[in-house]
């Protein structure tokens, strides 16, 4: 990886990692507004077995590990 493309990739990663902080400026979302977020397709890692087998496959093929996310959170109304 050349240094230019590495810098671009790091910048993109930093922008996406900082994006959630900007959400703190937004107003709180009310429970009545969470219908879309409650849908199963809005869950992060909603399929635990698939997430587990995917991580198992990739960890044996790449130097990186971790940072794969946490399940749930879709509707925020657990």
């Amino acid at each position: 990886m050349d240094s230019h493309s590495r810098s671009d990739a790091k910048l993109l990663a930093a922008m996406l990692l900082l994006a959630p902080l900007a959400s703190g400026c937004a107003r709180a979302v009310l429970p009545s507004e969470k219908a879309y977020l409650a849908d199963p397709i809005m869950q992060f890692d909603s399929d635990a077995l698939e997430a587990s087998s995917d991580a198992h496959v990739m960890q044996n093929r790449e130097g990186a590990a971790g940072g794969t996310g946490t399940a749930g959170g879709g509707c925020g109304c657990n």
Binding site: G24, P31, L37, D47, E50, S53, A64, G67, T70
Partner: protein, 380 residues
């Protein structure tokens, strides 16, 4: 309860790999404050692997078969706004044993718009190795020939090495708007102990020597992901980025893009693409360089995970969920879930001499890896 079977194949000409991976999980909340999770999975592995990195793969490839099993038990203690998790597991294969203990907590904050999760896991692992003594000269290190006498304290042929792993994961999930969900976090890991593949040898000059890696590796992954609900078409888009760094000088970036769409509720389809690019470890060299110039310092490896590479995954998954409306199925089942998916994997070496990199034999086909998974389950 869920059951899944995954078939994985790398159709490399000389180092093909086949894995059948059954999984079973059971999760139940017994009261409002107590839940139980049980999981079990296996890997039935067969294939061929090169024994010596740096020479012709064809002549050094040897066939192998192995079975790995892993079981885990977790307890959940819940209040209205928080969940405490404790658990443990044990896994093994012919040349590896792994015990884990873990704990974690998840808390809902700020009108349940923010979810904070922290998890810690410790691994007590043991690795079978050839009985090289601690005073052995590095260039005299012998590789393990077979797992046959592994974990036999009376065997003069093998020794058991320790490997300790501490992992901490932190994540924050934030409801940003009624159609946007965000998550960011980090995983830190410290690995201490024997980390080499005990069977692998690297050709240093004209001498084949067992792979030799540093005993300590500290790793950090930071990530962010976003999920957008596409309201008019009942779909969702997911975008994720991960940055990775470790003390062996590997730096990597992973991006993932996924799209979910309801075909006709409750039938949905998901397309995903994943790209991962990384540098080599500080001491990695292509096979021809180890053979002609020797190692970098006192470490050498033939592990593809430690080479500069670009991996990509493209896949599709179909899911169907039938939920009971007025009356439960069979008087106790709330929902049936069935899904099937296929992923294609592509590997590309980014080293100076890709034809002497560990992945070269695996990159000669139409695709380099194939995953098929079938899953079924029910909620009660």
């Amino acid at each position: 309860m869920r059951a899944a079977v995954t078939y994985f194949q790398e159709p490399a000409p000389n180092t093909a790999l086949y894995v059948v991976h059954p999984q079973l999980s059971y999760s139940q909340d017994y009261t409002d404050h107590f839940g139980l999770d049980v999981g079990y999975d296996m890997d039935v592995v067969s294939g061929a692997t090169p024994q010596i990195f740096g020479v012709d793969v064809v002549s050094s490839a040897t066939e192998f078969n192995d079975v790995r099993y892993n079981g885990g038990l977790g307890l959940r203690f819940m209040t209205e706004y928080a969940t405490l998790r404790v658990g443990g597991g044990y896994g093994g294969e012919s040349d590896y044993r792994s015990g884990t203990v873990s704990t974690g907590v998840t808390a809902d904050l700020f009108d349940r718009n923010t979810q904070l999760a922290v998890d810690y896991t410790h691994n007590f692992d043991r690795v079978c190795d050839a009985s090289n003594s601690a005073s052995e000269q590095l260039l005299e290190l012998r590789a393990l020939d077979s797992s046959d006498p592994c974990f036999d304290n009376d065997s003069p042929l093998t020794a058991t090495r320790k490997l300790a792993i501490d992992s901490v994961q932190l994540s924050v999930t934030q409801v940003a708007t009624p159609w946007l969900l965000l998550q960011f976090g980090a995983t830190g890991q410290s690995v201490r102990g024997f980390q080499a593949n005990p069977y692998r040898q690297v050709l240093l000059g004209e001498r084949a020597v067992q792979e030799h890696l540093p005993r300590v590796r500290n790793r950090l992954a930071v990530y962010g992901q976003a999920k957008f609900a596409l309201r008019p078409i009942k779909g969702a888009i997911e975008l994720g980025v991960r940055g990775y760094f470790d003390s062996w000088a590997i730096e990597g970036v992973t991006t993932e893009l996924a799209y979910d769409q309801y075909i006709a509720r409750p039938l949905s389809i998901r397309f995903r693409a994943r790209w991962h690019v990384q540098d080599s470890a500080l001491f990695y060299r292509d096979g021809n360089d180890y053979a002609s110039s020797g190692p970098v310092g006192s470490y050498w490896t033939g592990d593809r995970e430690l080479s500069a590479l670009f991996n990509s995954v493209y896949g599709a998954k179909v899911s169907w969920t039938a939920r009971a409306k007025d009356k439960q199925f069979l008087r106790f089942i709330d929902a049936f879930v069935v899904s099937g998916k296929v992923d294609l994997l592509f590997y590309r070496s980014l080293t100076d001499n890709p034809e002497f990199s560990p992945n070269y034999d695996r990159t000669k086909g139409l695709f380099d890896g194939f995953v098929a998974q079938l899953q079924a389950g029910f909620d009660f």
